[in-house]
């Protein structure tokens, strides 16, 4: 009797689920590619990346088969395509340098549709990084509420906080920057009542006063010297204004800005008039990988910026840097003359192999994140040729980019998904400096990610290992307001 009941239950179970059409039977064939979210059609990924789970808006169920160009096959069936992490790693590893063919069947409008298969390319180039760090913040205007700096393991979906502002009286945290993706050395900035510049070197934390009278501002947009001896910052009087009548939202601009170099050990700021001219705006300093050159952006300063902000256009310049003395040497060389194109070039980043310069090109100003026309551009530093990264760019803003240590991958933010919330994208850079199609940072549940994410990702960078911090100690140091003694400043130049 008991066996009969078990059979009956099993029969009803099967009947129930077959009624739900879980398994596609004779699907309608479509010549179209599936409209999946995130858009992973034709992207290039590194092996070992977290599974590219995806969904289709309006589909009740998906049945997905992934076939390796060399070997292997995955089959998933569910509300959205959700791959097992180990299986995904195995198939990407076995098909390195080849591709995966993805066949999607979707139950939509009460019928199964089989779409034209699409390809995901698995690059020969490995990522060589543990994960990424980024800030999560609501893309607000004057208020920001909760925000924090987070790290994410790129081989899976694990996200952990590095610093959340709920632990430091809701102050703004930003500009988290490691040295060459090494989390043992990083700097970041805290804005607010107990504002501070945090520097971590060799596991030691130092909390510096955020503002310095001699600078007239705080130290932002940092970049480490590869030796870890120096950090280049800019010190800016940043303002923002709001577009009341146009289709744009926010305009961020600097009334003044200078570039400074900070000597970590002596806590000395090295000022040089050549990168802190009164009539010019110098910004976004970065060192070359050999540490002998300082790149930065510069523009002519204007009065009444809110009236003339569209006239501010930045070029990318460089000048020699002596790592022994921490001083600038030689003459200023304009590397990207964006002004001659009627454009503005900002946020330079030299690849760690020294071959390419990645930057953002926009119509004007230094804060392209609110400019839909902002695109990533690449300059070949040997030939001087500049070109847009067409396959990585979109019709919306791309910015805040960084290189992986092996110079084969970049991470950047893009507003392409909805025009407001920035999301992280990664793109493979080929030998010739051109980008393959970028892919969105993989998400465990793309449906939830699409519907529920009301945060913007910004200032991302790669990290070769997770950051382990004594958070309580850091929170206490910030909250106590006890910052390191004033920093001495040494002036050079006229």
């Amino acid at each position: 009797m008991r066996i009969r009941i078990t059979y009956l239950i099993s029969y009803l179970f099967c009947l129930f689920f077959s009624g739900c059409n879980n398994v596609p039977e004779s699907p309608e064939m479509s010549s179209n590619l599936p409209c999946i979210f995130p858009d992973y059609l034709g992207v290039t990924i590194p092996d070992g990346i977290a599974p590219l789970n995806f969904c289709i808006d309006g589909a009740d169920r998906l049945d997905v088969i992934v076939t390796g160009g060399k070997e292997g096959e995955l089959h998933v069936n569910g509300d959205y395509a959700c791959f097992d992490i180990d299986d995904w790693h195995a198939i990407t590893n076995r098909n390195r340098g080849d591709s995966l063919l993805v066949t999607v069947r979707a139950f939509q409008d009460k019928k199964w549709i089989q779409y034209k298969p699409f390809t995901i390319y698995v690059s020969e180039d490995s990522l060589g990084e543990w994960g990424v760090t980024y800030r999560l913040i609501p893309p607000g205007y004057e208020s920001y509420g909760l925000m924090g700096i987070y790290q994410r393991d790129l081989s899976n979906f694990e996200e952990t906080p590095i610093l959340e502002n709920s632990n430091i009286d809701g102050q703004c945290v930003n500009c988290h920057t490691p040295n060459c993706t090494n989390p043992e050395q990083f700097t970041m900035h805290v804005r607010g009542n107990n504002g501070a510049t945090v520097v971590r070197k060799d596991g030691q934390l130092e909390v510096l006063a955020a503002r310095n009278e001699e600078l007239g501002g705080s130290m932002v947009y940092p970049f480490w010297h590869p030796t870890g001896k120096y950090i280049a910052y800019s010190t800016n009087q940043t303002r923002q204004n709001f577009h009341q009548l146009s289709d744009l939202r926010v305009e961020v601009y600097d009334e003044t800005s200078d570039v400074i170099v900070y000597h970590v050990e002596s806590r000395e700021i090295i000022l040089d008039s050549i990168v802190s001219q009164k009539d010019r705006l110098e910004n976004y300093p970065v060192f070359s990988p050999d540490g002998k050159t300082l790149y930065y952006c510069e523009a002519q300063r204007v009065d009444s910026v809110w009236k003339t902000y569209q006239q501010i256009k930045y070029n990318i310049c460089r000048i020699g840097f002596n790592p022994n003395t921490g001083t600038l040497e030689g003459t200023v060389d304009t590397v990207v003359n964006a002004r001659s194109m009627g454009k503005s070039a900002v946020m330079p980043r030299v690849s760690y192999d020294g071959r390419y310069l990645l930057y953002t090109l926009c119509d004007y100003g230094c804060f392209p994140i609110w400019h839909p026309e902002a695109d990533l551009w690449m300059m070949n530093l040997e030939s001087g040729e500049s070109f847009p990264l067409d396959k990585a760019n979109s019709t919306d803003a791309e910015s805040f980019h960084n290189w992986s240590l092996n110079s084969r991958w970049i991470v950047f933010t893009s507003r392409r998904d909805d025009g407001l919330y920035t999301h992280l994208y990664l793109a493979h850079i080929r030998e010739d400096g051109r980008a393959d199609k970028a892919f969105c940072l993989p998400q465990y549940n793309p449906q939830e990610y699409d519907a529920e994410t009301i945060w913007s990702f910004n200032t991302p960078d790669f990290s070769i290992a997770p950051i382990c911090l004594e958070k309580k100690n850091l929170y206490n140091q910030i909250l106590s307001g006890k910052t390191a003694p004033p920093i001495r400043a040494t002036k050079h130049g006229s």
Partner: protein, 450 residues
């Protein structure tokens, strides 16, 4: 028996017995009724305040998110209750039932520990009364009259009770910025701003709105309403977005999400709007609206029709960053759509608040050129007074003044000339205290005082 104390007609002793038997229930119900009345009348605005700082969603994601922690579970329950405050009477009924339930439970507990004597019965009301007072009525609300006013005006603006605002007695004139903005907006909605604005205390050039950082989070809510109806969609969105960040404990607000969905629909940002609509669709009181627009999100014609007015008065002029001057901003609105009555009223009122005769005359001329014949009362006072002072307005406005306004303005200047004192009691009492010239003279005095 459903009504246990109702006996047969004439059987008074049975009726009495039943009443005695059920007196505790009767008292509980009466106290419940008191809670209902308190919530529905004096604390109606406070209920609105609670509702707009919570958003309960009937979906698994929200459940999962909230039940991840004990605090979240508490919030889940709280948000579940506060969602019903959207409808005033329903919220008041729920609060009354909750209080009655809690009191009944307290009495049951007292009986369990043998504290069931009749004279101890009133004690069973104490815990829920304390809970009501300390959890439902925020500390600021109990202590600060200004906070109470802000909550009141926010509620009145949200529910568009313009007459209730305008008809407030003189003793209840607004003391907060939001109160003044709400009053001026209510006047404009009644088409009377540049007529009767000086019947109310006017603080100066910020009396219409201020789009900077606000002292009170609720000011963002109401300003968002004001900006949207004026046609300043970007500002409406900015206010809603900033308010969203200021809500404590990362709570969400159905009112703000709806506003963000609206502004993005008006501006054609459908993908962003979809995000908010999807979140709203599983709420009880915003869900229907959200589902309607989600269904038609790809139907440009439907959305254009639904927001035809907002789109017609919305200003979109390319890339330039507009001057921070409010007059310029309002001017661009009336240029965009001459039928934007609110913007016209605000433009004239702003010139009056600036005490700038040239602008009053210039804007009035534009107003007439746009086809409006009427000269608002306060504008008349301004123009007549200037003529009496021998100052010809530039440009010259042809109009037939109302007899009363002319007489009142002339009387004002006669008294001023005879007394030589703008602080004269007569000039500071109605009807003279309700005139443009009273505002003008007081403002000058303020400027001259050390």
């Amino acid at each position: 028996m459903f009504f246990p104390f109702v006996a047969h007609k004439g059987d008074k002793s049975v009726q009495m017995k039943n009443i005695v038997k059920w007196w505790k229930t009767i008292i509980s119900v009466l106290v419940g009724a008191v809670y209902f009345i308190i919530c529905f009348f004096p604390l109606r605005a406070l209920m609105n305040y609670h509702e707009e700082h919570h958003m309960f969603r009937w979906d698994s994601y929200y459940l999962k998110e909230q039940l991840a922690s004990w605090e979240g579970a508490g919030e889940y329950l709280l948000s579940f209750i506060t969602q019903f405050f959207y409808i005033g009477w329903l919220g008041a009924v729920i609060v009354a039932l909750l209080m009655m339930g809690m009191q009944g439970f307290t009495w049951w507990l007292m009986c369990r520990v043998r504290l069931s004597r009749a004279w101890l019965f009133p004690l069973s009301f104490v815990p829920c009364a304390l809970l009501f007072y300390y959890s439902f009525v925020p500390e600021r609300y109990r202590q600060e009259a200004e906070f109470r006013e802000v909550i009141e005006y926010d509620y009145l603006v949200r529910t568009q009770q313009w007459n209730a605002i305008v008809n407030k007695p003189e003793t209840e004139q607004p003391a907060t910025e939001l109160g003044v903005w709400g009053t001026n907006f209510a006047l404009a909605k009644c088409g009377q701003l540049s007529d009767f604005m000086f019947f109310f205390s006017q603080p100066g050039m910020n009396g219409l709105f201020d789009d900077g950082q606000q002292k009170e989070v609720l000011a963002y809510y109401s300003l968002s309403d004001i900006f949207l109806q004026l046609g300043l969609v970007n500002n409406a969105e900015r206010m809603a977005f900033d308010a969203k960040q200021y809500i404590p404990q990362n709570h969400k607000s159905g009112r703000l999400y709806r506003r963000l969905a609206e502004t993005n629909l008006i501006n054609g940002n459908y993908t962003v709007s979809k995000k908010y609509l999807r979140i709203l669709k599983s709420t009880l009181f915003y869900g229907q609206w959200a589902r309607r627009f989600l269904e038609h999100i790809d139907d440009e014609e439907y959305i254009s029709k639904a927001f035809a007015w907002q789109r017609s008065i919305r200003q979109s002029s390319g890339r330039e960053l507009i001057s921070p001057d409010k007059g310029e901003l309002l001017l661009s609105l009336v240029r965009q759509n001459k039928e934007n009555h609110l913007a016209w009223d605000y433009l004239l009122a702003y010139a009056l608040l600036q005490r700038n005769l040239d602008k009053v005359a210039r804007y009035m001329q534009m107003y007439q050129e746009a086809g409006y014949e009427r000269v608002p009362r306060a504008v008349q006072e301004c123009l007549i007074g200037n003529r009496l002072l021998g100052k010809e307005e530039c440009p010259h406005i042809d109009f037939k003044a109302d007899e009363n306004v002319e007489m009142l303005t002339e009387a004002y200047f006669q008294i001023l000339e005879s007394k030589h004192d703008i602080n004269d009691i007569q000039l500071n009492e109605p009807p003279f205290s309700h005139t443009y010239w009273h505002y003008q003279m007081q403002a000058i005095q303020k400027l001259q005082s050390p």
